[in-house]
Symmetry: C2
Subunit: 341 residues, 2 copies
Amino acid sequence: MTDYDKSKHIRNGGPVTLADIAKLAGVSPVTVSRAINTPALVKPHTLEAIEKVIARTGYVPNLLAGGLASRRTRLIAAIVPSVASTIFAETIEGLNAELVSAGYQLLLGLSGYDPGRELELTRAILARRPDGIILTGITHMKETRAMLTGASLPIVEIWDSTPSPLDTAVGFSHAAVGRLVAEHLLIRGYDRYAQVGANDPRAVQRRDGFVNRLKGIAEVELPELDMNSPSTFRDGRMAMAQLLDRGEGSLGVFCSSDVVAHGALAEAHARGCNMPGELAIIGFGDFDFAPHTHPPLTTVRIDRRDIGTKAARSILRKIAGDTSVEAMIDIDFHIVARGTA
Amino acid sequence: MTDYDKSKHIRNGGPVTLADIAKLAGVSPVTVSRAINTPALVKPHTLEAIEKVIARTGYVPNLLAGGLASRRTRLIAAIVPSVASTIFAETIEGLNAELVSAGYQLLLGLSGYDPGRELELTRAILARRPDGIILTGITHMKETRAMLTGASLPIVEIWDSTPSPLDTAVGFSHAAVGRLVAEHLLIRGYDRYAQVGANDPRAVQRRDGFVNRLKGIAEVELPELDMNSPSTFRDGRMAMAQLLDRGEGSLGVFCSSDVVAHGALAEAHARGCNMPGELAIIGFGDFDFAPHTHPPLTTVRIDRRDIGTKAARSILRKIAGDTSVEAMIDIDFHIVARGTA
DNA sequence: AGTTACAATGAAAGCGCTTTCATTTCTTCG
DNA sequence: CGAAGAAATGAAAGCGCTTTCATTGTAACT
């Protein structure tokens, strides 16, 4: 039997390597590699011996070395704007659950709604050679797009819809959401219409869809908020105060998120507005608290977790070589009519 | 000048490597490596030439190879129970911000409050040889502890306090939180006391601190919730209904999170309870909505983001070889008295 | 008994970097 | 102008795995 100890000097108590295991188990390194990755190819008796040594030594394979050699890292990267804003947190959870159960690990990047940071993150992430990458939205800097397509790996864009994704997209049309909300309000008929909220690309799409649907019917008021995305409870409250102060007549408001809507609602509640007769508020996201506001918030519901799940499945299929993954995977949305519209 | 093309065959359009850059720039691979990692060691003229080639080719270094060779991955792993539950999301944001600005990347693991999953995650994460690891809480399976100490890397445990951390801990005493809340309620004096909420290790500590402080003074009622951590709005509402149904007299309630408290509050509100005279509710976390409930929620405030920031700084210092990092870094907490207690 | 096939194992090369140590090329100064 | 020291660069080895191809052992069939 050959001696597999390639080390020039005695092991200095440093981390155990595959070669160490091989030596201790009296087999070659390849066999240990197979015992770990493709145990079916190893004779049960040998396998058992190797496993015993692994357990005894507490060996943890080095996936850097493994990834370098095999060109597969079992790493999936995801870039989202934020994780504190509820909206993406559940998508991440869905993503992660699906990835972990397939033996993959999630590498997370937070872009803070900043395309420049998205670019830097993309570079940093690509340097780790993930097997796939997930991005939020469909608007990226051209350098980002170039780098991504040059890396030739599966890409999934989430939370938006497009006929021409970089690779595959999982999401829905924000403009359609805006239109749907407009129609919901139109049926009831209000004297004035307004939209308040964030200015990230997707919120803007929703606003534009809303405004366009009302074009020729009503002017949409857009209170100015001196802030950047994402917007807050406070923003909603201030905007609503502004709206209520500067005009008469019944009012239908579309907020860019449930948080903003909640703020708007608080102001309306404080002023004793009659909802939804005199004032209607529609949020976006159907956050946990939405059913519990006073009155309960009418909002647009999206299965946020499902976006993560479907994104994970798509990317895993692509990694597995499945070329039949659809370019655009649509996610459902609908209005949950509660007390505010 | 030597020819640095080591490849036996012509490059097949695959990813550009450091050797390719070296060849195109007419220098050796080491020089390119230095141009990237320690540009100060390279003559400005050479540097410029190399940078030009890198830009032109869109070269992205392979950090797997780099990490394998240098034994530094610039990767920090963090394991938290969940990211959808608000409580940890901001910690992650703080962590990430600090790490990114130091050139590190965050590898995220979600344990779902399950020690077994924490163990698996630890193994999977260690296999990627992070430069440091951050864990939530101080209770881990003994296999996890063994694996961690065996890996000999900087460890930071967050969101709890202990005199004997694995390495360093950043957090606070949950028992002390429970005591503080008990004292806050005692000052006002209620006929009955109750605690409702989750059963994760930290929530249990808070409950025990609360119960112990009231020992000999009052029995603490603990409504049964047929659920696991984390608990929800619904749990809070049901528990409050139970409490209100089965007893008389004024009542002081400590909830394991603001979400639970919000639910409890909704039930109390619906029944027209007089707060805080007849009924007191104290939450935990000071979530965004806490100031905006009706009445506004009294709760325990912790700077969640700060935990992340401090954890990141500690681990970065450790990586830099600083041995003066304190074993226990305390995080402040205090009661924000609003309308419910 | 003699192929043939398959299962189990091994040898060697190499993934793309960084490290260490050696060499070359400048400066600087007596 | 030549020696000494510093600055800039390079050669070679190797990080810890997986891959490919070769070899050996074992069973199955004629």
